[in-house]
Symmetry: C2
Subunit: 168 residues, 2 copies
DNA sequence: TATTGTTATACTCTATAACTATA
DNA sequence: TATAGTTATAGAGTATAACAATA
């Protein structure tokens, strides 16, 4: 129960008419509207959902993009290292990788010297899917940059990096 | 499976030593580091978790803050209107309100003219809890503002609002 | 003893649909 | 018929703990 953009159709219950017949209820959001934290949350939710929609157009989701990209950039990475890069427990990776391997996007190979670990790499199909998702990401970035403004972009990202570094 | 800050101790599996004995694995994040959407996500996750920690110090969480604030700012609001203000389905509100009523922070009163709806308002204890959470939020805002810089703050929020409005 | 990856299990947050009581 | 709120149920996404295989 947290203020964000609605995830789907919840913004308006489709099975229910607007009781006011068009006159939207005048909700008072109080001091929230001026708070940085609140606006950061709302903007991130909007941005994330916009990227989710683009990802869905190629039949994937943002989580798969992150996984594929990290494997592509770090070929031979182990599952434990990948889960750490993602900031998630290794157990959460098992079903994700199971899906990616089943769909032929990722290959796992046992290592010779340490037979406990797998080396992960993308298949050609995986690279192709990643390329499609990277295209989505670039389109998304262009949309964001248009809203931010070319002159402000660098400063904007610098502030975001500062927040991540100092508040983490 | 999405790149954010880890939710808790997952950043380092406590039951496992660092296999490299201190030499952190050099993960390559590729083009991610320069993308606005990624930095927005990371910054929001950090900010949200910082506020979560402050909320926990007064025994609450960010979701309760949103609910209490919206009720306080809109006394007499119905559950359906509150769920819409939150962007969530009304069914998700039932257990939340059950908890707040049980703890004596919120009062529900049947309306006279329409006996289907409840009117929600905070009890004095609810207002007191909200005041504590508002204190957390103000401390959090001060921390953010310090990172953003007084001169940039207005522009930064304006950009966030633009992203929310245009990408929603 | 320690680590890798898997499994079992549970918790949180969310949604949809069906229900009840009222309108 | 339509709406307010509840209940039942399910699906992501996450975590912890215990396990088998291997080091």
């Amino acid at each position: 129960m947290i203020l964000t953009r609605p995830k789907s159709s919840a913004r308006r219950d489709k099975r229910t008419k607007n009781p006011a017949g068009g006159a939207a209820a005048p909700i008072n959001f109080g001091p929230l509207a001026d708070w940085t934290g609140f606006n950061l949350r709302m903007a991130q939710a909007s941005s994330f959902q916009a990227f989710s929609r683009l990802s869905q157009e190629v039949g994937e989701n943002p989580g798969r993009f992150a996984t594929l990209l990290l494997i592509s950039e770090n070929p031979g990475i182990s599952q434990t290292m990948l889960s750490r890069a993602n900031g998630r427990d290794k157990s959460t990776l098992t079903p994700v990788l199971e899906d990616l391997v089943r769909r032929g996007l990722v290959k796992r190979r046992r290592t010779h010297n340490d037979r406990r670990t797998y080396r992960l790499k993308l298949t050609p199909a995986g690279e192709k899917t990643l390329a499609k998702l990277t295209g989505c990401a670039r389109r998304h970035e262009r949309n964001l940059d248009r809203l931010i403004g070319a002159r402000e972009r660098k400063k904007f990202i610098a502030i975001l990096k500062r927040i991540t570094a100092e508040l983490g």
